[in-house]
Symmetry: C2
Amino acid sequence: MQDALRQFKADFFQALAHPTRIAIVEQLREGELSAGTIIERLGIEQANASQHLAILRAKNILVNRKAGNQVFYSVRDRRILEILDIMRQYFHAHMSEVLATLRAIDKADKVRR
Amino acid sequence: MQDALRQFKADFFQALAHPTRIAIVEQLREGELSAGTIIERLGIEQANASQHLAILRAKNILVNRKAGNQVFYSVRDRRILEILDIMRQYFHAHMSEVLATLRAIDKADKVRR
DNA sequence: ATGGTATATTCCAAATATCGAATATTTGCA
DNA sequence: TGCAAATATTCGATATTTGGAATATACCAT
């Protein structure tokens, strides 16, 4: 049983373990948005967005509502947003590491060019 | 910059996206433990434990302290435990899915046998 | 019915994560 | 010094994740 709980938690974290999926959840902080709006705001590929949305749906982090042509997504449980809030405090407290991440990304960009 | 923050968050979630690593952090809830104690309590391979500990160290979720022969690990920031606490509320609220995970694991076990 | 718009799914290749076995490193002690 | 205990690292095989291209599906309007 303990194992199942841990697997459940691990699955949950795995679902959020991608910058695009974090970005999607953050976009939905204020309320539901259509898939198209999310794609537009994040500037990502349609297929890619749809795959990430499927993952978030499968883990029950998002729920969706069809309205005619469109599909509107929203965060199912506000505790998920609470977790992201704590995360924000957490990395404000450890800003130096965030900056290290930033520098690493910048360096990788330079290599790529 | 926004991207770096998201990458940082994603890395954090990724670090916790494994049942063994969740178990390790939970073991450390009450305070530091040696690597050997963690291995003993979880009943996992030494090499495997060491790899997971390395991941948690790399993401600064754990800190370690050498004392002679042994290495003691502890959770660096109690906000990490807060996040796990919220997770507990979260899956109590969604126990039916936890049970579904449990059943899925059970089923997989049966197939394996 | 036909075409257009919105979204989802499938397929494939590259990248990454995982595990156990073997090996290496560090430290304490005879 | 040399051996044993504790921990870390490397390596190779396998599994999972990821993104893009192509394709499929659902719904609406004409």
